[in-house]
């Protein structure tokens, strides 16, 4: 104790936290997920390297779903809104997030962008993440599925080099299949790499150029969207029965 003013020596305390460093993002992602699921929007976080064909996948998907399902997109890039422009030309209402130097999207960015989309009138929301096989993998955005576009031109061992991205994937779209015949790359070797990093490897061989795999991809989307659809809770049904507007 200080004899002059009575102040004490500082005390050292240890404060237990035991919390994920991403807890704040996870909380915002939970909010996004609730928002999407309650409105019957199936949100897909589409990730992959720059140039893996993410935008081409979405352009082709928009054409395949045109007139049947309502689709919107959020795109993330460090600079330019070129991807958003391409998707708008394909008839998809799209919000571009320009991240500046950030290498990934996070739940807050998606939250802000989603406010500019007609969530009440959508079946699918595709979030085209920043082209990157590392950083986007660990940020939950509130999506219902993680899909990775892996082009056959990237070689056979990308999954082994970037395991976290593939471990969290629900589906890997093997893109640019039309180019396979020009390459010294085997689909079996890619599948084998995936089986070492993905506990339940699910893949679709895909080509946005010639339409290969499109039916299977749409079937996958529809099956997962249906499984994910929100079931009204009993108290909500009761409220509706009383004439409440929710």
């Amino acid at each position: 104790m200080c004899g002059t003013c009575g102040c004490g020596d500082s005390e050292i305390i240890s404060v237990p936290v035991h919390e994920s460093i991403l807890a704040g993002n996870s909380e915002r992602a939970r909010h996004n997920r609730e928002h999407f699921v309650q409105r019957g929007v199936f949100a897909v976080n589409l990730m992959g390297s720059p140039g893996s064909g993410k935008t081409a996948v979405l352009e082709a998907t928009a054409r395949a779903l045109a007139g049947r399902r309502r689709v919107a997109a959020i795109t993330g890039d460090l600079e330019t809104d070129r991807d958003a422009e391409r998707l708008r030309k394909a008839g998809v209402p799209t919000i571009a997030i320009t991240t500046g130097s950030a290498c990934h999207l996070d739940a807050e960015m998606v939250h802000r962008a989603a406010h500019h989309l007609p969530s009440d009138d959508l079946d699918y929301l595709f979030v085209e993440n920043v082209g990157n096989l590392v950083c986007p993998a660990i940020y939950d955005l509130g999506q219902s599925a993680n899909v990775v576009a892996l082009s056959v031109t990237e070689g056979e061992d990308k999954p082994l080099k970037y395991p976290v991205m593939f471990r969290n994937a629900d589906l890997v779209l093997l893109t640019k299949l039309d180019l396979l015949r020009h390459l010294q790359v085997s689909l079996e070797a890619i599948q084998e790499s995936l089986a070492r990093v993905m506990p339940r490897p699910a893949t679709i061989a895909f080509s946005a150029q010639n339409g290969m795999g499109m039916d299977e991809w749409v079937e996958w989307l529809e099956a997962h969207r249906f499984a994910n659809s929100w079931k009204p809770q009993p108290n909500v049904l009761r409220a509706r029965a009383r004439g409440a507007t929710l």
Partner: protein, 113 residues
Amino acid sequence: MHEYSLIQSLLDRVEQEATAKKATAVRRLWVRLGTQSGVERDLFAAAFDVCRIATICEGAELKIETVDAQWECRVCGRRVGKGELLTCPDCGAAAKLVAGDELFLDRIEMEVA
């Protein structure tokens, strides 16, 4: 290079605890990083050194515990080694990651007046 944004989240969280406890300084932070967390230990430490300046963590030491990845069969519990197929050779079930994706702030040591 998402390590910088992670460090920013970490510093915000520590600041929040320090304010709640009316701390005058933070001495040490204990963090657990799994080898499958998607975070590079050295980059994380380097980002901390840059970002802590002019925060309550300016003089704080960052203690990082690395946790190795561990996969197990989700049915029979058999261990699956690093780089092996993630399907149990005994029962054919998919493996699950039981350790190694940690990205945790465990504890903060701080000075209170």
